[in-house]
Structure formats: C-alpha cells, structure tokens
Amino acid sequence: MENTPDSQQDNSPLYTNPSTEPVSPEAATTGDPTEAPAVEPAPTEAFTSRTDLSHLSRHAEAIRQELGKVIVGQQSLAELLLTALLADGHVLLEGVPGVAKTLTAKLLARTLDVPFSRLQFTPDLMPSDVLGTSVFQPNKADFEFRPGPIFASIVLIDEINRAPAKTQSALFEVMEERQVTQDGTRYTVPEPFVVLATQNPIEQEGTYRLPEAQLDRFLFKLNVGYPTVEEEIGILQGHHAGFGGTPLEAVRTVLTANDLRGLREQVRRQHVEPKLLEYIARIVGQTRAHKGLYLGASPRASLALLNGAKALAALRGRDFVTPEDIHYLAAPVLRHRIQLTPEREMEGSTADDIVKQILQQIEVPR
C-alpha cells in the first residue's frame, strides 16, 4: 500500500525488540563469523527508555488490532493516523474512491470513546451547516446558538474537496484554535479535537482545490494507494468468508479521552537533541529556497514535523527522536504545504520528489 513516504521503512527493527537474535560476546571474539552469527548483547539499563512508554504501546497495539479486524494491510496508514492522534493533529487522506479512506477514519473513531460526527461535504453545503447557527427562540425572545456537527472530538469530513472554498474556510478557525466564534461569542470545541478529512484527487470532476491556508492546518496528508495483490486477495477472502466482512460493531472502544490526554502529555515530554531541531529547521527552510518550488512550507510545518516525530518515536518505543523519524514524516508533513513551479509540474515532478531531493541535500546530524 503506497500510503507512506517510504514503503520500505522498517517500523520496528531497532528499538521494539532489541533482544532478537542474541549472540554471546565470547562467540563473537573467536573471529569466525560462522560460529558467531551476530554480536548483540542484551540491552542494558543505560540503553533503554527513561520514560515508561508501556501504557502508550499497549493502547497503540490495541487500536492497531481493532483496525486490523476490518482493514486488510494499511499498517503504515494506521501508524501515521495514530501518530497524528498522539501529536494532536488533523489528517487529510487522499486517494481514489474505494480504497477504504472513509472506513479507516470511521474505524479509528470507533476505537476512541469520544463524541464523533460525520460530515458529507457537498457543493451546496453552507458554513452554518458545519459550525452551527443562532436560532430565534420565541419563548425566550432571544437567539440561541445551535452547535453544528463540528462540535465533536473526532470529526470525519468525507469528500472535503466537494464543497467550495466558502464552506471550507469555515474550518479555518476551529481547526487551528479549537473554537468557533459566532455572533461575537466564542464556543470551544471538546478536547480532544481531531479532523479526519478524505478527498479524491483534484483531477476528478466536481471537486474544488482546498485553500492553502486550510491545507496548512492539516498535520499530515496521507496518500492512500491501491492494495497489493496479496492484500486484495486477503480482502476478498475475508469478505467471502464473512459474507460481507466483519461488521463495524465488532470494533471495540479501547481509548478514552482521558487516556488520550495522558498519552499526549507523555509525547510532549519526549527528548529532542538540539541538532535535530536544527535539522528540522533546515529541511523546512530549504523548501523556501528550492528553485523547483513556488511556495515553501511555513513555520507551522516545522512544528508539525517536530510534534509528529515525537509521537512517532513514542509509538516506536523510544523517548527520544531520531533522524529516522524526521525522514519518515517529511513527506506527509510537507507534501501538501509546498507548491511546485509550473515548469516542475510540466516535467512531471511531484511534491514527494522535491521533498526527497531536499532530504538528500541536508546532512543527517550524527
């Protein structure tokens, strides 16, 4: 499934299971590689996390298992969705129809014990249909605010690019500031607040391109591709055996709002080496100097890359960020925040190509 920046990325070789293939140091010193398959002493206390991340790992694994009941494959997509959830960010899922974008988002919402609402964006949708509106109450002789579907913790916006810019602009304030201002009054949305939006590629008929300001508010843009042949066979087998697949009701709730708040606090306390902060700034800064880009990424992209890397490191069992995390998240964080020059677009380059080039130009701090 081509939904990650690096499909060959190994998710857990270095940290989650360090004691695999143990080899005694004595065997290694014999000098014969056939006698000593590897030198790998058991991890000592100095080389383990200082923060207890077992609670986080347990919850993450439970969510993965619940998603896996219905979704075949898509492990990377699930990992990045969890990363966004822990990093307190919104996610934009892009892909052709029929690749389980909406289903994945719905399932993720089901695993969380928080208010959920779903919005189907259509060309005639108005901002008040999203945010809510003030209604006159004759018995009180006053206006009363009636909250719209945006007042939920997990908001699934399906086909977000079907609505024109006017309606999409209604999301600006609530996505960034977690509040809605109506008739001079501020209404706060519940905590946590995550927008999971899906969209079809903009080349398709009847869609509107999202404004740059709105795109910038999404932590990640994940491209959901077609499944592999093996995965598709798995989908067919599961569907055939269950005459319709596993029902959504089989997916359990495994995380409460309080749990999520605690996990996010843990993520915020992750260690980040100062040179890695510089590394992030250089990557994002280079998007503004690259000749092939018409629009570079904003400082919000730097923050997104930092927060995302911290969450990903926690999911991978570390209490510190490595350059691997930044590499892994560079494309999902930057691809929707940069714009290619017309010349580059005509040459057939994509935003991911440019991000890859930028990563090749900057030395990994070591």
């Binding site: 060959q8 990325q9 190994d10 070789p13 270095l14 940290y15 360090p18 695999t20 293939e21 080899v23 140091p25 290694a28 010193t29 000098g31 014969d32 590689p33 000593a36 398959p37 590897a38 030198v39 790998e40 002493p41 991890p43 000592t44 206390e45 100095a46 080389f47 383990t48 200082r50 260690h271 080496e273 890695l276 250089r282 800064g285 280079q286 503004r288 100097a289 690259h290 000749k291 092939g292 570390r318 209490d319 510190f320 960020v321 490595t322 350059p323 691997e324 590499h327 040459e347 057939g348 080039q357 990563l359 090749q360 130009q361 900057i362 030395e363 990994v364 070591r366």
Partner: protein
C-alpha cells in the same frame, strides 16, 4: 430542333382593346394620341415653368477711414511664459546615442564585415546548420528529461543551499586520538559517537556501505550484506541512538564499557572476513 409552329407573339396574348374609331387606320390613331397628349401638357399650369424672382441690387457699404483702430499685441511677459511652456517648444531635440548603442552598432558592423568575407560566408552558412542541430538536440533531450549536466562530469543536480552545511568528513578524523581524549575527559557520550563514526568509516573503507552525509543509520543497515553484520550493526546503532540522540550525558563508566565492548566486538567481526580473504 424543330421550331414550335404553334408559338404566338406577345401582342397576340394581349386582350383586344376596343377602338373608338374602328375604321380609322392605325397610324392616324397614333398621331391623334400624340396631338392630344401635347395639348394636355401645354394646357396644364402646374407643369409650366415658374417665373424667375426679382433680383435685388447689391448695396456697397462706404469704407470707414475715420475710426481709430488699435492693434492688439500680447504682453511680453505672457509671451515669455508661453515660450517657456513645453507644449510651445517645437524644436526637436536630437536623440543622442548611448555608449551601449554605439558599442552595439560597432559590433554589428564588425560582424557584418566579418560575414561578408569568404570564410565568414562559410561560417555563416554552416553556423546556422550547427545552431539548428544544437537546438534540435536540446529539445529532444529536454523532452526525454535527460540531465545534460551529468555529461560534463557533475554529479546529481542539487539546488544551492541558502545556508552552510557543516559536513563532517569522517575520513579526515583521527579517531584513535579523539576517542582517547574523550574517554580520558570522561565525555562518554562523545566517545560513543566517535566510536560509531569510526565504525561507519571502516564499513565505507571496506566497501560495505556507501557513505553519504544525507543517509540515516537505517539506510546503512539496509546496505549491509546479509550475514552476521546486520544484527550486530543494529544493536550498535541502537546503543548509539540511545546515547547520542537520547542525550544520555550521564553515562557511567560501566555503561560506557558495555557500549565500547559492543563496538569492539563489531569491529572484530568486521575484520574477520578480511582476514579470511
């Protein structure tokens, strides 16, 4: 084709006109009609020519030589004011050629003279063909998206960075000295880092990995050939990551000894294939 014998003239198709004097010959009837028409025209007053109007005589006015005529002249100050206005300055200012124009004129004149010579004519003739050929090749290469710059020995095309990248050349470092200094200073975190960089240098020297500053430790792990090296390097990398990126400045001598043992064991393993070879 045979003519239609039944054809008749137009006069035959007209309805017969009843005549007043059926016995009078036709020419006399026409003459009578003409005379009647002439009498009618002469008798009608509206058709008669109008009488000319009476012509009034022209009256010439006498010349006025007694009135004192004053010649109006504009005030000199006003005239000066007008003259100073740009709209009334009709003298065209000659445009002077700039130094660049003169240079370009000389260049074109020189080029023209050069191309007029017999050898110049040959250059002109074949130069056009060469330029057309070069343009054609350029377009083809562009369409095929071929990076032409590589043909002249340049590596991957890289955009200029807007800042300096402090690249550390692992081949220029004296690791044994630096390691000794870091260990004696008790800077074990730095010692772990230097040890890891030394391993990367050794892997590069043996051709097991391709050192590039933009590669991550994970990339090097994937480059290693299958065998005992990858799991050992995995553990070494894990320790380095924990100590360096995890900011373990409080590494104790005991812990450092473990990290050093892991590194030395890996280096020993690395030397083994070379000895066998």
């Amino acid at each position: 084709m045979k003519a239609n014998t039944n054809a008749c003239s137009l006069t035959d198709l007209r309805p017969p006109v009843p005549s007043v004097f059926p016995s009078v010959p036709a020419y006399l009837r026409y003459l009578l009609r003409l005379l009647t028409l002439g009498w009618l025209l002469a008798a009608t007053p509206a058709l008669a020519a109008p009488e000319p109007a009476a012509v009034q005589p022209v009256r010439h006015l006498p010349a006025d030589r007694a009135s004192n005529v004053t010649l109006r002249k504009p005030a000199p100050a006003r005239l000066r004011e007008f003259r100073e206005q740009r709209e009334f300055q009709y003298v065209a200012v000659k445009s002077e050629k700039s130094a660049w124009d003169l240079l370009m004129m000389r260049f074109w004149r020189w080029l023209g003279e050069l191309l007029e010579t017999p050898s110049g004519k040959i250059i002109w003739k074949y130069g056009i063909y060469a330029a057309l050929l070069a343009a054609f090749i350029f377009v083809v290469l562009k369409l095929m998206q071929v990076d032409i710059t590589r043909a002249f020995g340049r590596g991957t095309r890289r955009a200029p960075l807007s800042y300096d990248v402090d690249s550390e050349d692992i081949h220029a470092l004296d690791f044994s000295t630096l390691l000794r200094e870091a260990e004696s200073a008790g800077n074990y975190r730095l010692a772990v880092r230097l040890g890891y960089l030394e391993v990367l240098k050794q892997l590069t020297d043996q051709g097991l990995i391709r050192w590039q500053p933009d590669k991550t430790n994970h990339d090097y792990l994937y480059e290693l050939p299958p065998g005992p090296l990858p799991p050992a390097f995995r553990e070494l990398t894990r320790q380095f990551d924990f100590v360096w990126y995890g900011e373990h400045d409080d590494l104790t001598p005991t812990h450092y000894a473990q990290a050093r043992a892991t590194r030395e064991a890996f280096q020993h393993l690395l030397a083994a294939p070379r000895r066998a070879a």
